[in-house]
């Protein structure tokens, strides 16, 4: 349903330990954001792009479709950086803004690539039950896991209801379209809470008394992967500091 989620569940890195993938992609993400953009973001973003296309084998279409909306945001919000406002009623194109615009857009695109490397390789169901090890209360991670399970059912409902409404000409005019949208939201609301009630009954039968603890599959942490990741991050950091620091 969500191409990134499907990629994460079917890709060659499916059975890697989520911590390995987090170290790699979130490490690159931190480098992209926190190091001097030139050359830090270029190196981290470039590494993430190569990893996406190479070993992680994420289809380029999946990446591009997911990147479209954030790229639109980046493009729109970079325009004000290229424009200056010398007086409240005057706008002027400001070539001096170009370096900042390029730096910001470059950092954002690089960081986005790193984010995609994480989300296209790491299923959330592997991550959420392990988050309590970071000190997040189990009640919160269990609510998050239930949200993750149920959102697919509900997004499915939204789509099905939208199709059914279209079949009965629900989007013919603006007026009917608003009525239809309210119908979708209302139907999904009712569905969400009837799902919760039914799941409550279904879990009662399974012996639920307050804990939703489960056993997570054990993935062995690959030492070579961690060593290679550390080396990659170390190289990016060293090179960036060397290049960016004036002698």
């Amino acid at each position: 349903m969500f191409a990134l989620d499907v990629a994460a569940h079917t890709g060659p890195w499916r059975s890697r330990h989520p911590a390995e993938k987090a170290l790699l992609s979130l490490g690159l993400l931190v480098c992209a954001v926190a190091l001097p953009t030139w050359p830090g973001a270029l190196l981290s973003g470039g590494a993430a792009a190569l990893l996406l296309a190479g070993p992680a084998r994420v289809p380029p279409g999946v990446v591009l479709r997911a990147a479209w909306v954030p790229l639109l945001f980046v493009a729109t919000s970079t325009v004000p950086l290229l424009v200056s406002m010398p007086a409240p009623t005057r706008l002027a194109v400001d070539p001096a803004g170009l370096p900042l615009a390029a730096q910001t857009a470059g950092r954002s695109v690089a960081a986005l690539t790193c984010l995609l490397l994480f989300s296209a390789t790491t299923p959330l169901s592997d991550v959420l039950p392990r988050l309590h090890r970071l000190g997040i209360p189990p009640a919160v991670t269990e609510v998050a896991a239930l949200t993750y399970r149920m959102l697919f059912l509900l997004v499915d409902s939204v789509r099905a209801v939208r199709q059914a409404q279209a079949a009965r000409l629900g989007f013919r005019t603006w007026r009917t379209a608003y009525r239809s949208l309210a119908g979708q939201a209302g139907a999904v609301f009712v569905r969400a809470f009837s799902r919760a009630r039914r799941l409550e009954e279904g879990l009662a039968v399974r012996g639920y008394t307050g804990s939703l603890a489960v056993q997570v599959e054990e993935y062995r942490v690959s030492v070579p992967f961690v060593v290679a990741t550390t080396a990659l991050l170390g190289t990016i950091i060293t090179v960036t500091i060397r290049v960016a620091t004036p002698w």
């Binding site: 239930l146 959102l151 509900l154």
Partner: protein, 207 residues
């Protein structure tokens, strides 16, 4: 309107985490207490989170031709109250970042502040004020959803302006620039969300 991954400079991205953290921690404590009192509320909270996420699958037709989705902060705040929304909103924004690449991890603090904290509080406040002032359910919900959405938009603009002040006119100029470029889509969208939320609440109050 989600600030994209990596768009904010690192110090500012970190600062928004610090600003949001107390609200989210307070909300989490409230959630943990509620779940301890009533274990079944875990399922209701999961459903509320999933519902909030699913609202982003609604496609509002917009005047600019592109379609956009409601923030759901107004509806969520009225139905589930702001403290819970800070946690649920945080979870939903995390999922939107990871499943859809809307928003990001480095900008999560900033987006949580605008969409899961300020938006719901403004929505809830407007709702309460209109109701106390003798307004009907419809106007109260309209105010909540429209102002909640607008507040989110204004906070996002302020976050961008703080990060990128205008070289000549400073913060004020940046507010005008960022505010202007997103106003075209965001103001009609806020009104749309208001109207839609009224219809939804009417529908729900009838069943």
């Amino acid at each position: 309107m989600h600030i994209a991954e990596g768009y904010l400079p690192p110090e500012q991205a970190a600062a928004w985490f610090v600003v949001s953290a107390p609200f989210v921690i307070h909300g989490s404590r409230a959630l943990v207490r509620q779940v301890r009192r009533d274990p079944d509320s875990k399922l209701l909270l999961g459903a509320a989170g999933a519902f909030t996420f699913a609202l982003s699958a609604l496609k509002i037709p917009s005047v600019t031709g592109s379609s956009s989705h409601p923030t759901g902060t107004g509806l969520g705040a009225v139905l589930f109250r702001p403290p819970v929304m800070s946690v649920l909103g945080g979870i939903v924004l995390l999922f939107q970042a990871l499943l859809l690449a809307h928003g990001g991890l480095s900008t999560l603090g900033a987006n949580v502040f605008s969409m899961a904290i300020v938006g719901p509080w403004v929505a809830y406040g407007s709702y309460t004020l209109v109701r106390r002032g003798g307004g009907g359910l419809g106007p109260a919900v309209f105010a909540a959803a429209t102002l909640g959405n607008l507040a989110t938009y204004c906070v996002t603009v302020a976050q961008l302006a703080l990060a990128f002040p205008d070289p000549v006119s400073g913060l004020v100029g940046a507010l005008a620039k960022f505010g202007g470029i997103f106003a075209v889509t965001q103001i009609p969208l806020a009104i749309s969300e208001g109207l839609l939320t009224v219809l939804v609440i009417r529908l729900l109050s009838r069943i």
